[in-house]
Symmetry: C2
């Protein structure tokens, strides 16, 4: 059967790639930044606003939706798209990363992961089969494999065991996935910071001929230089004609570093999370709006930005909203921060088309203050 | 000088009135419900969304804006309309009601009210002159007089003193108001539940020939029947050709009772406040969305409502958002509740035009469960 999701690579600028992802809910121009809607909502945003700022695909979290409201409720509602009023593509993670993050609340076996809910302490079991069942119920366009994400730092034995289990679990995911024509399963590479393990993991998952591959286990605490070095190895072993997704990456510099190394997709909660703390990404670097110096600053958050927030509100007003605990503060800053990252990717796509990605990256870094 | 705000009475159905309020920021069809934007934002709503649900005028609070961000900041920003990105009419209260509500934190003299900020405990003084200065800085279309709102219950002597002071303060407000051509000052009637005092208060303020009059000191805890009875007396002494504003009224039944007695304008924080607690106003009465029975209820909040929320989301989804503490819950429920009250007033206006206000009221009450 033809995969639900296909990828068309249309242009390269060195390793940086310009492509199009086709899904049952429409096309996605890559490289792409995917806003995260953890619990079936991109926090503090109406779906139309997420669309209006240019997002073509969002990510939602299997672990959270499984616990609340429950995947059966969402299935009865007609799937996640309908439930949350989002008619563009959705990628769901596998729940693996969240249950591994539970620490003492979870136990790993070859079968899967037993864990206790962070909401009410109830016992649950996630396995490759269960993750597929839940993601099939959600009806996302792209489903992620249930993998074991090793922590950083992590010794080679541990990283090897995790990568081996990830491959075994991927086979079980592929077998358990019941909705191939309408949803596509992406495999995830593991292997920690060890080039040989990454190569082996890549070869094993690529042999399964999936419609897309993710690089997992990076951006989990390791230094940026090491992330970049490992990422170079990872991408070398992935096929040209399939999309490549670097999971959980979202600061502006990481987007550039990822694209430069041949990554097509990224996601992160960062833009909406820091927005709720009053932090804005701007072309001149991060600012915190609660700072007293913005009390009578009647300029926009970012003078070079043309998002809804920057077109209509001043720093003085945004500071006032934040200081007054007004919900509109989170709404307007989330809108701006998401636009900022989505728009970086739009500019990156243009720069690749015009073979000037490196120049654009330098220009951005200089202004943002990365160098 | 011509008043900034004028009123045109276009139709009556018994005492109920259909009119148009003209202001420097556009026309307002009356009777009207005014959403409240306490701190320069209608909570959890973008201004465009407030417009889209049909609101033609909003209310904002002088006390809150004076304390934070400070009226001087808003003046520097170019006034409240520009500061908060709302280009339709704004009515500001005088700050009187809030400072009187401070209890032990305030002291009343003929000069005005000394009070301590609820935010940082700092000392401040509000007087008729100060209230006008602040409201002139904010640049609202309609400014309210600085009055003494007597509590309920309240003996006749106390109510008489408060009404007398309110008249004296109104004279000082009129004298202090510096922006007559662009902002209009409305007087406020006091007198508690005592018909003779209400009559005297009305005669005194009407003698000042202001562009509009408010009924203050009602809906402050007295039974509904008493409110209706006193309101009848109040309205009898107000001129036909000026708009009449009943302050702080916002449950559906109070809107009907007010309009039935000849009131043109109402406001209340109720719709947005209860929205944040998960409560929705529906044609079948109030419901609380956190109720377990809505877990798999895939119908809209109100099957007879055509607001954005009801067109796009189910009770099951709204319950999920509320249970997950998602900001979108407050956004969607606020939108629905505001639409519900704004739309009642729209239907009331049509019913007055067609001389069937009483029928519409009966129909609404029956379905809502008031009778």
């Amino acid at each position: 059967m033809k995969d639900a999701v296909t990828f068309n690579l249309i242009k390269k600028d060195k390793k940086a790639r310009r492509g199009v992802l086709s899904t049952p809910h429409g096309e996605v121009q890559t490289p792409v930044f995917m806003p995260v809607g953890t619990a079936g909502t991109v926090k503090a945003m109406r779906p139309e606003e997420v669309k209006a700022l240019g997002a073509e695909i969002i990510l939602s979290n299997t672990y959270h939706l499984y616990l609340r409201p429950g995947h059966e409720v969402i299935k009865e509602a007609g799937g996640l798209h309908k439930f949350m009023n989002w008619d563009r593509p959705i990628l769901t993670d596998s729940g693996g990363f969240q249950v591994f993050s539970l620490g003492d609340l979870r136990k790993i076996t070859n079968e899967g992961v037993e864990f206790r809910s962070h909401i009410d302490g109830s016992y649950h079991m996630f396995s490759p089969e269960k993750s597929m069942e839940v993601q099939n119920a959600l009806g996302s366009d792209i489903m992620m494999a249930f993998d074991e994400c090793a922590p950083y730092p992590c010794d080679m034995d541990h990283a090897e065991r995790a990568a081996k289990r990830t491959t075994e679990w991927l086979m079980r995911c592929k077998e358990a996935h019941k909705n191939t024509g309408k949803q596509s399963l992406f495999g995830i590479m593991q292997g920690g910071v060890y080039p040989d393990l990454r190569k082996k993991s890549a070869e094993e998952i690529v042999a399964m001929d999936l419609p897309g591959y993710a690089v997992g286990g990076l951006s989990v605490g390791e230094p940026k230089e090491l992330m970049c070095e490992v990422l170079d190895h990872c991408v070398d072993h992935l096929p040209e004609n399939k999309p490549r997704y670097l999971m959980g990456v979202g600061t502006p510099d990481y987007l550039f570093e990822a694209v430069e190394r041949g990554i097509d997709m990224c996601d992160c909660v960062l833009p909406t999370r820091i927005a709720r703390n009053g932090t804005a990404l701007t072309s001149g670097g991060q600012i915190n709006i609660k700072n007293a110096k913005y009390e009578r600053d009647f300029t926009p958050l970012d003078g070079k930005c043309d998002c809804y927030t920057c077109r209509n509100y001043t720093r003085a007003y945004l500071r006032h909203l934040y200081k007054s605990d007004e919900i509109l503060s989170s709404m307007l800053l989330s809108n701006h921060n998401l636009y900022f990252l989505v728009n970086i990717m739009k500019n990156i796509r243009e720069s690749i088309e015009e073979e000037r990605f490196a120049e654009y990256k330098n220009e951005f870094y200089r202004e943002y203050g990365y160098m």
